[in-house]
């Protein structure tokens, strides 16, 4: 098992190296740079732009910029933000708790919705519950997150005034209830969207598994139906779903970009939006590498978890 994990992680290193080069090229290919924002101020003269370009090292050839970024990054130095001059690592660390809180709660809620929904709609395929959840899931998948978020705000914050429309805490607040109130709407958006997709996968996977001979055999042996579903079918069906959950979770950890922006949630997603608008290359690179690493690591974790549930996987 350990050798399996080590091999998978080692394989990821060249992959991440290639990704870093592509991402670097891609973000530099976008028109404008970290200094473009200064251009709209008539008091910033061309001499100023040139001076800042040199000071930030943006006057060097692109490969040099990439090389010095890579050398520093590999050594654990993530550099300084182009927009506020602070260490990139510090900017990410201060945003991380908010994102982990939002994403962690959302994933738990989404799983709580996914598992029973997926199982019941697979077992009672075509019945009213299945039809209801199928319709709801289609709606959940199709809803644009920003629109869904704004509708929730209009209803629960502007109309009913039950919930705060954005942010993480109230000034002077910050107790448990305050946190929960701020979490409710963004978590609803994320959980509904994720659970809609995941429950569909689980349903499909369950239906396939329930048709397998070993399930028939278990039933023939007189195993109670509850055990057939949970211990035999679910255990086999959950593997592929877990892989999808892990990749989605990795994407969310690097920032639920749209949801965080709509709810002014102070996490990595809002940081990404800001950094993108400012072409803050160092912050963008760090966030994108974080995402890539998270996807690789979470995939390995998913494989490991799958292997624990189903030992045949290790040979793959």
């Amino acid at each position: 098992m350990l050798r399996f994990l080590a091999r998978r992680l080692l394989q990821a290193v060249p992959l991440l190296f290639v990704i870093s080069g592509l991402v670097f090229l891609l973000i530099h290919a976008a028109p404008g740079g970290p200094l473009a924002i200064y251009l709209s101020n008539p008091n910033v003269r061309p001499e100023d732009i040139e001076r800042l370009r040199r000071a930030l090292g943006l006057d060097r050839p692109l490969w040099q910029q990439y090389w010095s970024w890579l050398a520093a990054f590999a050594g654990g130095d993530w550099g300084y933000s182009f927009s506020d001059g602070r260490p990139v690592a510090a900017r990410i660390v201060e945003r991380l708790p908010a994102t982990l809180e939002l994403v962690g709660v959302s994933i738990v809620v989404a799983l709580v919705l996914t598992v029973p929904t997926g199982i019941v709609s697979a077992v009672r395929r075509g019945r009213w519950f299945d039809r209801l959840t199928t319709t709801a899931a289609m709606a959940g998948i199709s809803l644009p997150a920003f629109w869904f978020g704004l509708v929730l705000q209009i209803v629960f914050a502007v109309g009913l005034r039950w919930l705060p429309s954005s942010g993480r805490t109230t000034l002077g607040g910050g107790d448990f209830v305050d946190h929960v109130q701020h979490l409710l709407m963004p978590v609803t958006v994320l959980a509904v969207v994720q659970a809609s997709g995941w429950s569909r996968y689980l349903r499909g996977s369950m239906i396939e598994t329930l048709g397998q001979p070993f399930v028939l055999a278990a039933r023939a042996r007189g195993t109670p139906e509850r055990d057939v579903i949970v211990r035999h079918a679910l255990r086999n069906a959950i593997g592929p779903v877990l892989a999808i959950v892990m990749v989605d979770a990795a994407l969310l950890v690097s920032g639920a970009v749209v949801t965080e922006s709509v709810f002014a949630w102070p996490g990595l997603g809002s940081l990404f939006t800001e950094a993108l608008a400012r072409r803050d290359y160092s912050v963008l690179m760090a966030l994108l590498m974080l995402t890539s690493t998270a996807i690789v690591v979470f995939n390995v974790v998913a494989d490991a978890a799958h292997a624990l549930i189903d030992p045949r996987v290790v040979d793959v």
Binding site: A30, G32, A36, I37, Y38, L39, S40, N41, P42, N43, V44, R45, P46, E47, D48, I49, R51, L52, A55, S83, D84, G85, R86, R91, E94, A98, L150, L152, Q153, I154, A157, V158, L160, R161, W162, P164, S165, S166, G167, R168, T169, T170, L171, V180, Q181, L184, M185, T188, V192, S261, V262, F263, A264, W265, P266, G267, S270, E274, R278, R279
Partner: protein, 524 residues
């Protein structure tokens, strides 16, 4: 949804909305500042205005008024002296009894230190504009700073509008990395930074002994909440979670009109929306008949009445009515499509197949770029496309994000662009129209060349006599109106939403921002 509703009702009425009070006023802010060091940031920020004070500021009518200076130096009061060598000396007398928030006295040494730091090798401020023309600063006494300029510099009176750097805190340090100062600047203003929560808010609190007296400011704390999403910001205003939103988008004005707790102030702004015509990229724009035809073809009055909801007046030139240099005695171009067609005919652009005019087999067709995400701007662009099509000109609208737009215009890679300039408080328009100020040397992105106008503009920059400078700028406005280097559309009106209970709000047309008189604000 059900879960939300259930739990919400459980903790219902606990409420996140608090009414504005003299204890706490909450401002919905569209972004998190990069830095609170005023010399390092790309615009004057509202938050800094509450903390750091300049020697002068601009008031609600864009007059330059003294703040930490005892008065504004002029030729008349002897504060400005022209030297025979072509340079000039400006003597600033500082207000006495002003201290930094740590109790250190504010003196002329801080003024000198500021100039030396900005011109020195150890700091990278955003702009050195004006400072680079200063040769030295003398400090004959603690309250007098004599600034020696190498040449006559007309906007000298706003040279220190951003404030000064505290010498006793920053001397000998790498200011770019002085995060203690950059995140919580030491100022002389009514407020200081109490907390900065990354991604969430900056909280300012009243200083104990502000130099205007202990009864000022009246409001104890100001909270700037960062809410980048415009819809969310407006929703918070409606739900009462924030009390002030500066620069309300015009298409949101009607949504707020029905709220009794909010007043939306209108301030005639110092910015103008216009269409830049890039003569270098699209040579047909170099013909003044074509430019006049384009402006005649646009019904700008209709734009302001319909798309702009009557919020902004039609603009006729780069200097706005709020400026002391403004004149309305210039050439104007009413909506007259027949005249537009005649002018295009005269210029040799005749009707071709599918109604698009052409000359020598080339169609009169260009691309109009503008920034995505602004509903009003996108609507105006479509109206322009439609109206120019009526006179046989083919326009294709292209949307880009803000950073991309900046890069495109800086490199001159566009035909026409719909955008606005936030004009400086001083009516220096040289950078936009002088022939030698095309990028990268300036912002003449019309690539317009007129030697007489160029000479006139430089002469006005080197005139510190208000009457003489006014004459020169009036003549420049007449010349610009005749040449139509660009198509002015409308003068930008600032909309600022504040609580109906807020007293002494004055507004401000410049990027000094609405908080310039925050020390007078009071909730009643």
């Amino acid at each position: 949804m059900i879960a939300v509703a259930g739990t919400a009702s459980a903790c219902a009425r606990r409420g996140s909305a608090t009414p504005p009070t003299n204890d706490l006023l909450i401002v919905g802010y569209d972004r998190e500042p990069d830095t609170l060091n005023r010399f390092s940031t790309h615009i004057l920020e509202d938050i800094q205005t509450c903390v750091v004070e300049g020697l002068t500021t601009t008031d609600e009518r864009m007059n330059v008024v003294p703040l930490l200076a005892a008065d504004v130096p002029t030729l008349q009061n002897g504060g400005v002296r022209l030297r025979p060598d072509g340079g000039m000396d400006v003597t600033w007398t500082l207000r006495s009894g002003v201290t930094w928030h740590d109790g250190h006295p504010f003196t002329s040494a801080d003024v000198k230190f500021t100039v030396d730091a900005i011109n020195g090798p150890n700091y990278n401020p955003e702009s050195t504009d004006g400072f680079d023309r200063i040769s030295s600063v003398d400090t004959p006494d603690a309250l007098t700073a004599v600034v020696h300029y190498k040449e006559v510099y007309a906007p000298y009176d706003i040279q220190f509008i951003r404030g000064t750097l505290p010498k006793h805190v920053l001397e000998g340090r790498d200011i770019d990395r002085a995060q203690d100062y950059n995140r919580s600047p030491l100022g002389t203003g009514p407020y200081r930074v109490a907390a900065w929560k990354a991604g969430e808010y900056i909280l300012l609190e009243r200083v104990p002994h502000y130099w205007r007296g202990d009864e000022s400011p009246r409001i104890r704390r100001l909270m700037f909440k960062f809410i980048a999403n415009t819809n969310t910001r407006i929703n918070q205003l409606k739900s009462g979670e924030v009390h002030v939103v500066a620069l309300v988008p015009w298409d949101k004005q009607r949504e707020l009109a029905g709220l009794t707790s909010i007043v939306v102030h209108r301030t005639p702004g110092n910015a103008y929306e216009h269409v830049t015509l890039n003569e270098r990229q699209f040579p047909p724009f170099a013909d003044v008949r074509v430019r006049r035809a384009l402006i005649h073809a646009l019904d700008r009055e209709l734009f302001t009445k319909t798309i702009l909801d009557g919020l902004a007046p039609v603009a006729h030139g780069p200097i706005q009515p709020v400026s002391w240099a403004y004149t309305d005695r210039i050439t104007r171009y009413p909506y007259d499509p027949a005249r537009a067609r005649t002018l295009l005919d005269e210029a040799g652009w005749t009707a071709g197949p599918n109604g698009i005019r052409q000359r020598d087999g080339r169609p009169l067709a260009f691309t109009l770029i503008t920034q995505a995400g602004y509903a009003i701007r996108e609507n105006i662009a479509q109206a322009i496309e439609h109206q120019l099509r009526e006179v046989g000109v083919d326009v294709r609208v292209e949307l880009h994000d803000g950073t991309a737009i900046s890069a495109l215009w800086f490199e001159g890679r566009f035909d026409a662009m719909l955008h606005w300039w936030q004009m400086p408080a001083d009516p220096e328009i040289t950078t936009f129209f002088a022939a030698d100020r095309t990028p990268p040397a300036g912002r003449n992105i019309n690539y317009f060349k007129d030697d007489a106008l160029t000479a006139l503009l430089y002469a006005s920059d080197r005139s510190v006599d208000r009457a003489a400078r006014t004459q020169l700028l009036h003549r420049a406005q007449v010349m610009v109106s005749e040449a139509v280097p660009e198509i002015p559309l409308y003068s930008v009106t600032r909309l600022d939403a504040v609580p109906a209970s807020l007293q002494h709000f004055k507004g401000n047309p410049t990027n000094t921002g609405i908080f310039w008189n925050v020390h007078e604000w009071e909730i009643k």
